[in-house]
Structures are given as C-alpha cells and as structure tokens.
C-alpha cells in the first residue's frame, strides 16, 4: 500500500478493495439479519410481530435468502480479511485507548462473523460438532454481529466514503505481461460469490438443483420430498400406524375425535404449497386434505382463535406449535392426508399433518394427534 513497489500481493490490497467488498458483505449481513430476525419471530411470536399468509412462498423466499446470503458472505469475508490482514501487525501494536477499543471492536466483529458463518453452514448440513444449542446462540450472536458492524461503520465512515469515491487505483508496473490488478481481485471475488451460490442454492432454487453439487440436499426424498425428522427419529412409528389412532380436536369442553377414515370421508381439497425448512432447503408439493378451518368449525371454534397443534412425538421443542388465527383460518391451511397424490409417507407425517402457507417447515407439525382451539 505504500506505493512504489511492483504489483505484489501487498499492493493489490488496499482500502479501495476493502470498502467495495465491505459494502457487498454489509448487504449480505443485512439480508441475513433481517431474514433471520423474521424466522425467529415467526417461531417465537410477539404481539407486535405480523407475518402474512400470502404469498404462500414468502417464508420460502426469506429463509432461502438467509442461507444464500450467508453462503455468499463466505467468499466476501475471506477477501475482506485478506485485504486488511497486514493491518493486524501495524505499529503501534498497543497504542492508545482509542486504538485499543477499535481493535477490540474488530476482534468482536471477526470472531462473531466467523461464529455465525461456521455454525450456520454446519447447521444446513445437520452437523452439530459444536456442543451448544444452535438456534438460540445463532440468534443471540446475530445481535453481536449487527452491533459490531454498526460500530465498525461508525468508526470507518470517513475512510469508507473516501475509498468508494476514489478509483480502484491500479498501480502501473511497467511490465508488458498483464498481471493481476485490483480489478482482477474484485472481479474474482464476485466470481467466487457466484460459484458459491450456484453450488449450494439448488436446495431452494429448483432450476439450480442439478448443478448445486455441494448442497446438503438434492431435493429428493420419500414421495419426492426431503425430510428433516423421520418417523423413526421421532419415535412415532407404532402410534402412527395403530388402528387406535384418533385425531382429537378440542374447543374448551367440546371434544371430537376423528379416525383416519372419518378424516378421509370429509371433503378433500388440494393445494400446491412449499415446505420451507429453516435450514434453507425447500420443495413444493401438492398437498391434499381437509381445510383446518372446516375441522375447527366442527367443534365450534372461532376464526379469531389461535390453534395448538400437538404431535404424537414425545414432548420436545417442536412436538407442539401454536398456529396463529390468521394462518388457522386461511383457506389453504390443510390437515393433509396425502402428498403428490399418495397417502403421506410416515416420514412426512402419516396419518395427518399440518401444512400452512408461508410458515417454517419446523412448525408444519407432523403426526398430529391433537388440535386445540386456544382461548
């Protein structure tokens, strides 16, 4: 960066690159933060949080973007850290209090970013090599990243503005054979982002499916649909296949139990809905079943009531969920008995599962045993 040296890797580095890659990384982090925030509050609803039922693919879009932008951030972070690495050894190593605070904020920023990207990509591959609970800590660390990014932008704002206003400043070398320039580095970075995206995004973008060679899921599975939790893992195989199975629906003192045959005898409807997992994969299927609103009607439930969905699965974080009234009364929300024209595979929730528009897959409760109208 000091000027007159030939175009070594050192002179390829520079604020011009750091700032430009930094802007792209900032965009990726912002998308990750906003979409992650949305996903968190769909799963942990608060009175102030509103999540629509349309378009039906809205959650598929936001969560797909979450994982795609997170993966895109990997090459961006690699290049950004490369571009500033010599600063780590700049003198004075210790310096004054301001310098110490700035260095500390960058340490927090780098550590929290590496934490988020590493745990995030491991979660998409269901690899829990870290021995702490993923969701709550990935959520908490997101605020640390966001805070560190804001502090970083606050500290660097004048430098960022200056760097973005200046050209890339390729240093002439006087050599005939063209060597790499900062333009090369920048274009190479965008190319690497493209490569990373193409190789993984197929788990949620159907037309990329065949080229996403490193995606944790090909998009296939029983009945043409991937599975996150199998009937075996959930320990429901026997109860789901039992002739004693009933779907119990309650509204206060009103209780009604349905056999599978009784559910199948009700008017059936088919909707094309995506199932979109928090881990970034999604797949669209034709679901056939009874609209939830019709079942709620049988027990005289109000259209303004939330509805609790309880699985045959023994109590655990996702064995029961509360479906907000907005989704419960939606015409496309089904208690599905079939997918793609076939009776649900046990891994897809046989005998009956919830499928609602614009919801995370983890809340589309499988192996339903009980539906309670709440309040």
């Amino acid at each position: 960066m000091t000027g007159a040296k030939p175009a070594t890797a050192t002179s390829l580095r520079g604020t011009a690159i750091t700032a430009r890659v930094g802007v792209a990384l900032g965009v990726a982090i912002t998308i990750c933060f906003v979409t992650g925030f949305i996903s968190h509050f769909i799963q942990h609803p608060q009175p102030w949080f509103y999540w629509p039922t349309r378009p039906v693919w809205l959650y598929q879009l936001t969560q797909g973007l979450h994982v795609i932008s997170g993966i895109a951030a990997i090459p961006l972070l690699v290049v950004k850290l490369w571009s500033v690495y010599p600063k780590l050894f700049e003198r004075p190593i210790i310096g004054g209090l301001t310098r110490q605070l700035e260095r500390a904020s960058i340490l927090v920023l780098v550590a929290s970013m590496l934490f988020q990207l590493s745990t995030g990509i491991m979660n998409t591959a269901k690899w829990y090599g870290f021995k702490f609970f993923f969701t709550t800590n990935h959520y908490a660390m997101a605020y640390v990243v966001a805070g560190a990014v804001l502090v970083h932008i606050g500290v660097k704002l004048p430098i960022i503005r200056r760097a973005l206003g200046e050209p890339l400043q390729d240093i002439p070398t006087g050599e005939l054979a063209p060597g790499p320039t900062r333009r090369t580095v920048l274009n190479g970075t965008w190319l690497a982002v493209g490569v990373a995206t193409v190789l993984t995004a197929g788990q949620t973008v159907p037309w990329l499916r065949r080229v996403s060679l490193l995606a944790p899921r090909s998009g296939d599975g029983p009945q043409g649909l991937p599975v996150n939790r199998t009937a075996l893992a959930a320990g429901v195989l026997r109860a789901a296949g039992s002739p004693d199975y009933r779907l119990t629906v309650t509204n206060g003192p009103v209780v009604k139990a349905f056999t599978v045959a009784e559910l199948a005898a009700m008017p059936q409807i088919t909707h094309q809905l995506p199932i979109a997992c928090v881990e970034g994969w999604s797949a669209t299927a034709d679901w056939t079943g009874v609209p939830l609103s019709k079942i709620i009607e049988v027990v005289g439930g109000s259209v303004d009531s939330d509805v609790r969905m309880i699985s045959l699965e023994p109590p655990g974080p996702y064995s029961r969920t509360v479906l907000p009234a907005r989704h419960a009364r939606d015409a496309q929300t089904l208690i599905a008995l079939k997918v793609n024209g076939q009776t649900l595979h046990p891994d897809h929730g046989y005998p009956a599962r919830l499928i609602a528009p614009s919801r995370p897959g983890v809340l589309q409760t499988k192996w339903l045993t009980r539906i309670e109208v709440v309040g």
Binding site: S118, A125, N137, L150, V195, R229
Partner: protein
C-alpha cells in the same frame, strides 16, 4: 457526519450488548464453549489460514510466470471457497442413518469436479489470453509515466 458516526457507534454498542446479554443467559460451561468456538475461528484465520495464503502467494509469484498470476489468483480464491463449502458435507459428518434425504449427494465427486471446472476455466483463460493479441489498453495501463515512445521522424 460526526453525529451520524456517534449515533452508529452508540446504536452498535447497544445492539451488541443485547446480544451479549442473550449469550450470557447460557450456563457457564456453554458460554465457555461459545467463546472457545469464536476464538478458535479467529486463531485459525489469523495464525494458520492467512499466513498459509501469504506463503502460497509468495511462492507462486516466484515460480509462476507473470501472465499466469491472474487466473491462478482467481482460481485459488474459488478453490478456497469450494473447500470451505465442502467441509460440512465432504465426509458427511452430519449423516443420519434413518434419513436418506439429507447429505444425499456424492460430495467427493461434486467437490473434485468443481475444482476441475475452476482450474479448467483458469487454463482456458490463460490459453485464450496467449492466443489473442495483447490489447493495447493492457499495454498502456502497464506503462509508467516515464514511458515515452520514440518520436516519429520529422519529415
């Protein structure tokens, strides 16, 4: 601008502190694991990955002809990204015996074919730039201010 900067820093500190409070809600043992995970990430980058890249760049600049540097640089960056993406899937550490729909690709094949495509493209770029004439702009851009061509003979 000072006000904007002050606001960003204050907001950042508040948001970051909220995240820290959420993290500190864990049992001490879990907090230590999270801290170790984050610290190991930084150490792996600063003390292993970055020096290795420096050494690789240093060696490559001395071994490879200058015209190779650009494609090799970009292909190396892409390969690093491929390796990072392959780590969680290559040997399928998260494989679940009961669930055939997760990690259901041949990632060894997928990784090596991707690496081959990246380096194949770099090779094509190199051959292409050899066969095509050097563009005049490239030559001019690489010239220093002191480079003056001979004056045409005066008639």
């Amino acid at each position: 601008m000072t006000a904007v900067r002050g606001l960003l820093i204050a907001l950042g500190l508040a948001v970051g502190a909220y995240g820290a409070v959420l993290l500190l809600d864990n049992p001490t043992q879990v907090i230590i694991r999270i801290g170790v995970w984050a610290a190991v990430g930084v150490l792996l980058h600063d003390a292993v990955f970055a020096p290795a890249c420096l050494a690789l760049g240093f060696a490559a600049r001395r071994i490879l002809p200058r015209s190779w540097w650009s494609p090799v640089l970009v292909a190396t960056l892409c390969t690093i990204v491929l390796v990072l993406l392959a780590i969680p899937v290559y040997n399928k550490p998260g494989l679940q015996p009961d669930n055939a729909s997760v990690l259901d690709r041949d990632y060894h094949w997928g990784f090596w074919i991707s690496v081959a495509i990246v380096w194949g493209a770099a090779l094509l770029y190199l051959l292409g730039s050899r066969l095509l004439p050097v563009r005049q702009n490239d030559v001019v851009q690489q010239q220093r201010a002191g480079h003056v061509e001979a004056q045409p003979p005066s008639a």
